[in-house]
Subunit: 608 residues, 2 copies
């Protein structure tokens, strides 16, 4: 019998004696299994969309709500197919590694890149036709395609005579807003690169510009991290002098070149085929890569050199792409809300929403947008690197061996690691789970203070909770310290204060929010219930939340392939009312209140 | 009493016992004096425009024509003022060094440079006005001057935040076609640089863009000469490889930087104040400085990469000017007629002439244009470096000690050197005089063969004529060899063939020409009679000739200061019918005929 796994679009064979969880694993899809498939944890929740399946087990009746049961929700470890079946796997039931696959889903936009390609078959020069190479080209393009007043990129011009003769006068020409920017063998792909330049991570997508298809994607750590973890410390480093500012730009440029080379070699093509690049990032990242002065950005009133959309030649930035390639920087919204937020708004269509939508891109800086029927409000808050695993004793980034999910039952700690290997640390979503569970069990109180418990001991930094002891196969102890919890409180406080200030600006309260869009890699991995439990997310019904992955990257890709969307993006800053938290008189009061964990938590079924 | 010297505009004091030649010398004006002021050579011809003077001497009656006498022409060494007097010194009566002064005369154009300057007094940013620096600027420019949709140069952007704060928000802004290209202290001059990039020489003019005034000018030898004397040998060198092509570009760039630095320090300003540059030059020079491939330009059908007007950022060429500075290259006409010819046509207004005008820019390549009431015909001919003093045994460039004028009377050789110092060689105009005189005296025949004569001896290269023997004070002999004469025959043949082919294309003959404009440094120094005598110039009455100096440089200056003229220049190539000599079936026949010196020479009075 046949099993269709949505939204992955994977089809495989199954049978009535193999659980859907096992069938999924055989098809290469890893569904959560905190309890090891014993029907105890509820982390493998799926939805049967169509087709016959075995009856509900006792475990399912305990762990699923009546609402869920009536809507076809099941636990993958408990259900066996009885015929062809179609199931939907919610994002939160997939392991982190699996979720990345989801990001590669293309959003639906009309493909209309700024660089358009035209085939040309030119007459050869003769003694009686001595037009220059460029005039020969532009005459043809005018005659054949009605294109007038074309100019040509200067770097490209240097290769035109040689190229045309090597290609025997038959070529495909890339034109961008009246400028000839590329010249290649007939029909060769036109490539683009979309980049989400984050403070901590850089994600890049190699795209076929004519088809809008993503050929390869990859992420790396932003190498500027060696010179400062957050934007403020990088501003301080750049202000030391021209040499330091140059270093911060050069390390990113080098990384982008390497990343592009890697993506291209994976896709059997060459970086010189890249004809257009879009880089979205926060305002500081844009200043640093472009070597714009940052002194005025780091001090009140925090003034940006330029927030307009900017087109810079790749050559001017020492990027290795096609000679005529432009780097497009979408507009910034303000000193601390950059084009990554514009890209996120574009990708999630928040700006076109009719109801009240809260958008959050959780990272080292968290950008928060609040769309009301009248206005978009936006702010940026320094949530710090704790969610990336930094500043946490046993923290680590989301990689093999990172604990990504945790459930504490009495004195038993159940956990799941990325890649299913022995645990070596905690990534952001795991840390969030631990704090939520400790709070639920009363092991920490609202102030984050750790109470006595068999698993709590005194370590060098004060009290710490032992998650993984030194047992067989685990050479490494994994603990969470009081100080770690403090880091999460700071991050949570910053985010919650931001949300509250935007709500106050709009004259709304938490319950007025209809939908919450959670963007960013970290936001996609977190357990929404845990995040609500400790107060990072507003207390709203589960169906209000939508975890959309790297929306900034997705937006950059959309701006890359659609000129119409690029024009829309240019207008977004004018639609946004920027709320500066640092100069907001209520911020510090809100922040210090929000550092406390919430008093009356509603525990969701699978955490009971 | 008062003496006015035109067209130099110099006024000085004189008296009735001092000749006008001597008064001129006291005023710093050096008039020719081949015979030493004895009234024998006729080289000091001047015209009295107004005021009383001594009576005609016998010498004047012998050396001047009745026509000249009735028009107020005199010999400066023979005439004494009898009251306030105003005289005109024809270009040909000035020594070479003096003539350079003439070039600095500004031509009359409306000053309207492409970079326009606007003063701005910006409001300072506050916590309630956090617009970016660029938006603050563009908002002001829109509000105050109605300028919309401005963009900003990327290199300039890098300095904007620092600049605005250092200038305390009061600044003068340069805008070029909607792009902000400079930002400077209020009211600081806006500078431009006009360059005539010749195969042999580079001339540069530093200009105040707002006033159109030339602040300083200078010329240097094109350093590419070390890699090939003519365009063909430089193409060959550039084709050796990327390294060689880079060298040819870099040496010129380095020279231009040095030249600009020198001109600026003479004018008490800085190269970073240069906001716009115009470089006119032949097609090969433009390809080489821009590092455009030249292989296709060196072989039939001789195709240029691009002939359109081109704007390239100074930064892209490693030129040291203001960060936003553009280098404008006016259009080329064809593979071998460059923007220097366009500049020359613009400066001399040949394109607007109503009658038949022949324009010539004599140099290593000589560009020839023929304006008829219907059309402009143009060609370029390889006249070689003989006129620059190269390939001539005792040739030298026009510098102190170069013989610039020669007269042979019997067995006496009279000569005049630049700077009046002991002779060390012959420059172009001197060589031309010698050949004309030897031909007139029958010492050489039409084929250039040297006959027996007391001053002719046999040297290592065959017969040679001794101009300057080893006498007291002259350690160096100066001779002209049969081979030297051959070089002049080749140059003359190339030029004359070019003229004849253009005349044939236009269906005209030599006598149809109404006016001859002779441009180029060399062309300004030559004795027109000598040039007619050996057939370089058509045999027309003296008043038909107009020696205009470096018209290409003048044209570059006009394009620099007048946007209207720049637009006119862009249209000139379309008005010109380019005649390619190399592919013209009649060229080699015309050329071999034209190598002979003319049969029936008409000797002008002062050569009799």
């Amino acid at each position: 019998m046949q099993i269709d796994f949505e939204p992955l679009g994977i089809r495989s064979q199954g049978n009535s004696s193999t659980s859907l969880q096992e069938s999924a694993r055989q098809a290469g899809i890893v569904i959560n299994a905190l309890c090891g498939g014993l029907g105890k944890c509820g982390s493998c929740k799926i939805q049967v969309l169509d087709g016959p399946a075995s009856a509900h087990t006792e475990a399912e009746q305990t762990l699923l709500t009546p609402d869920e049961l009536s809507n076809g929700y099941r636990l993958a470890c408990q259900v066996y197919p009885l015929g062809d079946i179609k199931i939907h796997i919610p994002v939160e039931s997939l392991t982190a590694t699996q979720r990345i696959q989801l990001e590669s889903q293309e959003s639906v936009v009309t493909i209309d890149p700024i660089v358009r390609n035209y085939d040309a078959f030119l007459p050869m020069p003769t003694l009686h036709d001595t037009r220059s190479d460029v005039t020969r080209l532009t005459d043809y393009l005018e005659e054949r395609y009605g294109l007038e007043n074309l100019s040509i990129d200067f770097e490209l011009l240097k290769s035109v005579p040689t190229c045309l003769r090597e290609l025997d006068w038959a070529t495909t020409i890339g034109i961008r807003e009246g400028e000839i920017v590329s010249l290649k063998p007939l029909g060769k792909p036109s490539l683009g690169l979309a980049v989400d330049l984050g403070t901590t991570k850089i994600a890049a997508y190699l795209v076929d510009l004519r088809e809008g298809r993503t050929l390869a994607s990859s992420g790396i750590t932003n190498p500027q991290i060696a010179y400062g973890e957050d934007v403020i410390s990088r501003i301080a480093y750049a202000m030391k002098g021209a040499k330091e500012a140059t270093i911060l730009s050069e390390v990113v440029i080098t990384s982008l070149n390497e990343l592009a080379h890697r993506l291209c070699s994976q896709s059997d093509c060459n970086v010189h085929q890249i004809e257009e690049v879009v880089i979205a990032g926060n305002t500081v990242m844009r200043h640093l890569i472009l070597m714009l002065p940052v002194a005025q950005l780091g001090l009140a009133p925090y003034i940006s050199a330029d927030n307009n959309p900017l087109d810079v030649k790749a050559k001017a930035l020492n990027l290795d792409f096609s000679p005529g390639c432009y780097i497009h920087f979408p507009p910034n919204i303000g000193g601390f809300i950059g084009s990554d937020c514009v890209a996120m708004i574009l990708a999630t269509s928040i700006n076109q929403a009719k109801n009240v939508v809260l958008g959050m891109d959780i990272g080292t800086n968290t950008e928060i947008t609040l769309k009301t029927p009248q206005q978009i409000y936006a702010c940026s808050t320094a949530s710090g690197p704790a969610f990336e695993g930094a500043h946490i004793r046993n923290g680590m980034r989301a990689a093999d061996g990172a604990i990504e999910k945790v459930r504490i039952v009495g004195s038993v700690v159940e956990y799941q690691t990325i890649g299913g290997v022995a645990p070596i640390g905690l990534c952001g979503s795991g840390i969030l789970d631990v704090v939520a569970q400790l709070f639920r069990l009363g092991i920490i109180n609202e102030a984050g203070t750790m109470k006595d418990n068999p698993l709590v001991r005194r370590g060098k930094d004060g009290p710490e909770f032992v998650l993984v002891g030194k047992s067989a196969g685990n050479n490494k102890e994994i603990v969470i310290t009081r100080r770690d919890i403090g880091e999460i409180q700071l991050a949570k406080g910053a985010i919650q204060a931001g949300i509250n200030i935007l709500l106050a600006e709009a004259g709304l309260k938490e319950t007025d929010i209809d939908q919450v869009i959670i963007a960013g890699a970290f936001g996609s991995y977190i357990n929404v219930d845990s995040a609500i439990a400790i107060g990072i997310l507003p207390r709203l019904p589960p169906q209000c939340f939508n975890q959309v992955g790297n929306a900034a990257g997705m937006g950059a890709k959309i701006i890359l392939v659609s000129n119409e969307k690029r024009e829309q993006a240019k207008k977004i800053p004018n639609q946004v009312h920027y709320v500066d938290l640092i100069t907001n008189s209520n911020f510090f009061q809100e922040f210090s209140k929000a550092m406390f964990l919430p008093k009356d938590i509603t525990v969701s079924p699978n955490q009971r």
